[in-house]
């Protein structure tokens, strides 16, 4: 490990949120530690993405959210579920990364200062040969890899993934797992909204199940038993996933 406490301790206390009269999060207590992969699971519409946006400081909420950094506030990497790019806008993979990570207008090309870093990260996600392709020409899984790549520049201290594996292929999933493992080893705090229960059991250090409120949380092998999961998911997908 280079620095086991690079990321922040993320703490939420009694976090609640309403959309109009609809209570979407209710009294959430949550903690994620540096060097830890903390997965968030739960049924669709259970408030997982809302919870993530609250941690990112993008939603008004009741309760407290604290990012306790080991020293000065570090970098946050964020992988959204998907990105809406008008199919007719000629935005290449390289353009998109440049748009995210540099000040120089992206239409001038990639800044020389970060070109090497962009090439390195794109190579890590197996997308370097496709960097001149338009975003609209990529498959869903390839788009996710690009979205993941931008989150790694600059190297994040807190990485938040909002269910990015909805459409990813097997190779992409292996790349994600490998890179997240490396970040964990470097002391990065990783929070991952995930729907693949088998992979959560395999990879996560901690899991929290949210369906408006906390349904359960703890070490996956201890809390992700069939009884718990059947309470929140339908039986068929759970049996398949487990």
């Amino acid at each position: 490990m280079n620095n086991p406490t690079r990321g922040p301790i993320v703490t939420c206390s009694n976090l609640s949120m309403n959309f109009g009269k609809n209570r979407v999060l209710d009294g959430i207590d949550f903690i994620a530690n540096p060097g830890e992969l903390h997965c968030i699971i739960g049924p669709n519409g259970g408030g997982k993405s809302t919870f993530i946006k609250a941690i990112l400081g993008q939603m008004h909420h009741d309760g407290k959210i604290v990012l306790d950094w080991p020293s000065a506030p570090g970098k946050i990497g964020y992988v959204p579920q998907n990105i809406e790019v008008d199919k007719t806008v000629p935005l290449t993979v390289e353009n998109f990364i440049a748009l995210c990570v540099q000040d120089q207008p992206a239409f001038f090309g990639v800044s020389k200062k970060i070109k090497t870093e962009i090439d390195r990260i794109l190579a890590r996600v197996n997308m370097q040969s496709k960097k001149k392709l338009l975003f609209s020409e990529l498959s869903g899984g390839e788009r996710q890899r690009v979205l993941f790549a931008q989150a790694l520049i600059p190297s994040p201290d807190l990485l938040i993934l909002d269910e990015p594996m909805n459409s990813i292929d097997r190779t992409g999933a292996a790349i994600f797992s490998e890179l997240i493992g490396e970040l964990k080893a470097q002391g990065v705090t990783v929070i991952w909204v995930h729907h693949d229960l088998a992979q959560v059991r395999e990879m996560a250090d901690q899991v929290t199940c949210i369906n408006r409120e906390i349904i359960f949380h703890g070490v996956p092998s201890e809390v992700m038993d069939e009884k718990h999961l059947l309470e929140i998911f339908t039986a068929q997908p759970v049996r398949e996933a487990l």
Binding site: I76, I83, T88, A98, A106, F107
Partner: protein
């Protein structure tokens, strides 16, 4: 500034008198218009790529219509009939801010909301215009509606220089932020882009450059020069770089050709109309190229 314009005018006039440029460029008003075109074309072309990518074409159309109301208010309040700029700028910018505010806060469909604002601004503008026509020569209003090269004065050019300078500075400095906040607000926010603030800056930028171009292109057609060159460029581009370059080129060539060609051919065509017809021809050509490539 006047000295710089004079130097530019004399140079162009000398070249035209020596037969190196079209004969129409011996006239001062044509050179003024050419200067305006060289300022408007590249700026609207470049900003247009953002308008198209952020899907705000309908929005800029509403701003163009709001300019009509601004002109009418200016004339009613006693501003100079040929340049009611205070009311024009003030109304268009306030309109843009209010429209963006309503869009952010209401949760309504953008298209519906902009459609309502667009219709309302057109209704108020045309009603006020009718009352204004009793006081002034109606042909002056034609200039604002459809553009006129005859009325472009040195002060109009100075105003354009300032607006273009501001637009280029803000646009270049924040191009990535404007585009990213349109693609994914959450991702932009994580990247330290205050999305709402940049939304407001962008709509003010559109209002500013739209209003500054009204004299040349006309209130009815100014938004078309924001949209058509970018839409044409999009048809043939394979990267952001070629998108911007083509859009700037098409917009500039359309503006210059739209001003000079009717003069050369002695056609009685409003400038705005001529510019947009040329831009549309480019769009059709690129559309054909796109369709051929897709086969």
């Amino acid at each position: 500034m006047e000295m710089i314009y004079d130097l530019f005018r004399h140079t162009i006039q000398n070249l035209a008198q020596n037969g190196l440029l079209p004969n129409s460029l011996t006239y001062t008003f044509v050179i003024n218009a050419l200067l305006c075109a060289l300022l408007i074309g590249p700026t609207l072309g470049a900003i247009g790529t953002l308008v198209v990518a952020k899907r705000m074409a309908f929005f800029s159309s509403a701003i163009g219509n709001a300019a009509l109301t601004g002109i009418a208010i200016g004339i009613i309040l006693g501003e100079p009939v040929a340049s009611p700029y205070v009311s024009l700028f003030a109304f268009a910018i306030l309109f843009a801010i209010f429209l963006n505010f309503s869009r952010n806060r209401s949760g309504m469909s953008h298209d519906t909301l902009i459609g309502v604002f667009l219709a309302a601004s057109l209704a108020v503008g045309s009603t006020l215009m009718l009352s204004v026509t009793k006081k002034i020569n109606v042909h002056i209003l034609d200039n604002f509606l459809f553009g006129s090269i005859i009325t472009a004065s040195s002060s109009d050019i100075t105003l354009l220089v300032v607006a273009v300078g501001f637009a280029v500075f803000i646009g270049m400095k924040n191009y990535n932020r404007f585009l990213l906040s349109g693609l994914n607000p959450s991702l932009a926010a994580v990247r330290q882009v205050p999305v709402m603030k940049y939304d407001y800056i962008f709509v003010i930028l559109i209002a500013l450059i739209t209003v500054a171009s009204v004299k040349i292109v006309g209130a009815v057609l100014v938004e078309a020069l924001l949209i058509i060159p970018a839409a044409a460029a999009r048809n043939i581009s394979r990267s952001l770089k070629s998108f911007v370059i083509w859009s700037v080129l098409i917009s500039t060539v359309s503006a210059v050709t739209g001003i000079l060609l009717p003069m050369q051919l002695e056609l009685s065509v409003p400038t705005g109309g001529a510019i947009i017809i040329v831009a549309t021809l480019f769009f059709i050509a690129t559309l054909i190229i796109r369709m051929i490539r897709r086969q």
